[in-house]
C-alpha cells in the first residue's frame, strides 16, 4: 500500500488507466491515509463512494478546501457562522474534477473565509505543519497544503486571493499554482474578495498541477467573469530554459527576506542560468505598495460579500433575542472570528463616507499602476521571479498578536493577485529558520502574463527537474 501512496497523480492516473492499479484500491489506500490525520488538515472526510473510471483523473482522490460548496456535504469556510450548512449545490470546480473522474477525499481546514496566512484563523483549530508540528502550514489553504505535504492526500485544490495557495505550498514544500483571474470558475466558491479570488491546485509536482488545472479551467455560464484558458493546458515536458528571460524586481527588498530564504532564492537564479535562462532586473516600482492596496481592496470587497451572513436565510442565528437589528449584530458577533471582524471593520471603514476616495479609490489606482508595471516587464521578459514568502514556516502563535506583521507575509504574492496574473510556487530547497532549528522548505515564485499558464508550467517543470527537491517531512535534516 505504501507504494501506491508514493505515486504522483500523473503516475497513478496512468497506472489506473492501464489497469495496473484498481481505482478502488487506490482510493481506499488514500482514505486510510486521510483517516490518520493528526494535523487537523481535514474538517470532513468522505466515508464511501466508488473511484471514477472515466477521464483524465479517473480514480484520483482530491482534497478540497472547505470553501467549495458540495451538495449535501458540510461546507463551513472555516467559520462558526456556517457550521452545519450543507449547500444544495456543487461548485463548478468540484463538479469539473468529478467529470474528469476524480473523487473528493475530504474537505480541508482553512483560515476563516480564507482570511489569513497561517491557518490560525480557523474556527475549528489551527492546522499543523507536517515538517514541524510546532509551526504553521501557511494559509489560507493550510489544510490543503498540509494534507498533500503530510501524505494525507495525493493532491488538493485551494483558493488564492492574495497568496493563499502559493504561500502555504511554499511553507509545506509542495507546488501551488494560482491561475490567471478568470481561468477557473468561481461558481460555488464562497466569496471573500470577488475581484481577486481564484481556484487552483496544490500538488506534489508541476506535472500534477498541470493535470488538475487542465480539468478545472474553462468558461462557465454560472460565472460571467470566467473565460477559461484558450487552447487548454497540457502536461509540461520542457527540460531547459533556453531563450527565456526572467525578471527579478529591481526593488526586491532583499533586507526583508530571511537569510536562508535569500540564499535558496539566489541559488535558484543560478540554476535558471545553468538551464540557459537569462536573468536581469526589471523595475516594478509599485509592487511594494501591493500590501497597502490589497489590504484596502480585499477587506472592502469582503465587507460587502459577508453582509449576506445575517442569520436569516442560512447558517447560524444567535440565540439571544431582540429586534431584527440586534439579531443581525449578535449573530455576526458570535459567528465571526477576530480576523474576519477586523477585515469587515477595515473594509467598511475604507468604504465609508469621507474615506472612500482616500482609501478605496486610491487603492484601485495603485492596482492599475501595479498591473502596468507587470505589463511593462512582460514586454521584455517572459517571467517575473521572487521568493514566495519572506520566511520559512513560523511558529504557531508567533504572529497572531500583530495583524500587520501577519499581512506582510503576503508581500511577494499580493502584487500578482492585484494584476490578475498567474503565478506558481515550487519548492526550491531548505533553509534554517531565523533563530535556528531543523531546516524547512523554501518556495520560489514564478509569475507569467495573463493566461500564460502553459509557458509558466513548462518553465516551472524544467526548473523543478533541475532543482531535484526530494526532501520530505520527517527526513532527518538533510
Amino acid at each position: 500500500m505504501g507504494e501506491l501512496l508514493e505515486l504522483t497523480v500523473a503516475q497513478a492516473a496512468r497506472k489506473i488507466a492501464a489497469g495496473e492499479i484498481a481505482a478502488q484500491e487506490y482510493l481506499e489506500a488514500w482514505r486510510e491515509a486521510a483517516a490518520g490525520d493528526e494535523l487537523n488538515a481535514y474538517l470532513w472526510r468522505a466515508e464511501d463512494g466508488a473511484g471514477g473510471t472515466e477521464g483524465s483523473l479517473a480514480g484520483i482522490p482530491v482534497a478540497v478546501k472547505d470553501i467549495f460548496c458540495m451538495e449535501g456535504v458540510p461546507t463551513t469556510a472555516g467559520s462558526r457562522i456556517l457550521e452545519g450548512y450543507e449547500p444544495p449545490y456543487t461548485s463548478t470546480a468540484v463538479r469539473r474534477l468529478g467529470e474528469a473522474g476524480a473523487r473528493v477525499l475530504g474537505k480541508t481546514n482553512m483560515d476563516e473565509f480564507a482570511m489569513g496566512s497561517s491557518n490560525e484563523n480557523s474556527a475549528f483549530g489551527p492546522v499543523l505543519n507536517p515538517w514541524d508540528r510546532g509551526r504553521v502550514p501557511g494559509g489560507s489553504s493550510g489544510g490543503s497544503a498540509a494534507a498533500v505535504a503530510g501524505g494525507l492526500a495525493p493532491c488538493a485544490i485551494g483558493t488564492d486571493t492574495g497568496g493563499s495557495i502559493r504561500q502555504p505550498a511554499a511553507l509545506c514544500g509542495i507546488v501551488g499554482l494560482k491561475p490567471t483571474y478568470g481561468a477557473v470558475s468561481r461558481y460555488g466558491m464562497i466569496a471573500f474578495a470577488s475581484s481577486l479570488d481564484q481556484c487552483g491546485p496544490l500538488t506534489r509536482d508541476v506535472t500534477d498541477a498541470a493535470l488538475l488545472l487542465a480539468a478545472l479551467q474553462g468558461r462557465d455560464p454560472c460565472d460571467s467573469t470566467s473565460v477559461g484558458i484558450e487552447g487548454g493546458v497540457e502536461a509540461p515536458s520542457r527540460e531547459d530554459l533556453e531563450g527565456m528571460r526572467f525578471a527579478v524586481p529591481a526593488e526586491l527588498a532583499r533586507d526583508a527576506i530571511d537569510v536562508g530564504v535569500r540564499e535558496v532564492f539566489e541559488a535558484t537564479l543560478e540554476t535558471i542560468e545553468r538551464l540557459g535562462g537569462e536573468i536581469a532586473e526589471a523595475p516594478l516600482p509599485h509592487a511594494e505598495h501591493g500590501i497597502s492596496a490589497y489590504y484596502v481592496i480585499a477587506p472592502a470587497e469582503a465587507s460587502s460579500n459577508l453582509a449576506r451572513y445575517d442569520g436569516v436565510r442560512y447558517g447560524m442565528r444567535s440565540e439571544s433575542a431582540g429586534d431584527l437589528i440586534e439579531m443581525y449584530e449578535t449573530t455576526r458577533a458570535e459567528g465571526f472570528g477576530a480576523e474576519v471582524k477586523r477585515r469587515i471593520m477595515l473594509g467598511a471603514y475604507a468604504l465609508s463616507s469621507g474615506y472612500y476616495e482616500a482609501y478605496y479609490g486610491r487603492a484601485q489606482r495603485v492596482r492599475t499602476k501595479i498591473a502596468e508595471d507587470f505589463s511593462a516587464a512582460f514586454a521584455d521578459f517572459d517571467f517575473v521571479v521572487t521568493p514566495t514568502s519572506p520566511s520559512v514556516a513560523f511558529g504557531l502563535g508567533e504572529k497572531t498578536d500583530d495583524p500587520l506583521a501577519m499581512y506582510l507575509n503576503d508581500f511577494f504574492t499580493v502584487p500578482m493577485s492585484l494584476a490578475g496574473i498567474p503565478a506558481i510556487s515550487i519548492p526550491a530547497g531548505l533553509a534554517e529558520p531565523v533563530g535556528g532549528g531543523p531546516r524547512l522548505p523554501v518556495g520560489f515564485q514564478v509569475a507569467a502574463p495573463a493566461f500564460g499558464e502553459q509557458k509558466l508550467l513548462d518553465a516551472a517543470h524544467a526548473l523543478e527537474l533541475a532543482i531535484g527537491f526530494e526532501a520530505e517531512p520527517g527526513d532527518a535534516d538533510g
Binding site: 497597502s292 467598511a348 465609508s352
Partner: protein
C-alpha cells in the same frame, strides 16, 4: 489615530456588535494598519484610472431562457427559522 466613536460608527454600518474590549483593540489595530496603508497617499496617482476588474470583458449576457428555480422547501430547509413557507426573522421593532 482612529477614535472609539469612529469604530462604533463603522461597527454599526457593518452590523457587528463589538465588546468594549474589542472596540479598544480594533481602534488600535486599524490605526496601525491604516498608518501603513497611508503610504499610498504619497504616490502621484493623478489621471490614473481605477481598476475594479482585471480581465477585460464586455457585458456578458446569456440567452434569456427560463429555467426552474430552487424548490422552496430545499431553500427553506437551510434557514435557522423557517415558518409558513417563508424566512422568519425578529420584528424590526423591539418588543416591550
Amino acid at each position: 489615530m482612529i477614535e472609539r466613536k469612529q469604530v462604533l460608527h463603522v461597527a454599526r454600518l457593518a452590523r457587528l456588535r463589538l465588546s468594549d474590549e474589542e472596540v479598544e483593540k480594533v481602534a488600535g489595530e486599524l490605526s496601525g494598519i491604516l498608518a501603513h496603508v497611508d503610504r499610498i497617499g504619497e504616490l502621484d496617482l493623478d489621471g490614473v484610472e481605477p481598476t475594479s476588474h482585471v480581465v477585460e470583458l464586455e457585458n456578458v449576457l446569456r440567452a434569456d431562457e427560463p429555467r426552474p428555480s430552487w424548490p422552496k422547501d430545499v431553500v427553506l430547509e437551510l434557514a435557522p427559522d423557517p415558518a409558513d413557507g417563508a424566512f422568519r426573522a425578529p420584528s424590526p421593532q423591539a418588543e416591550a
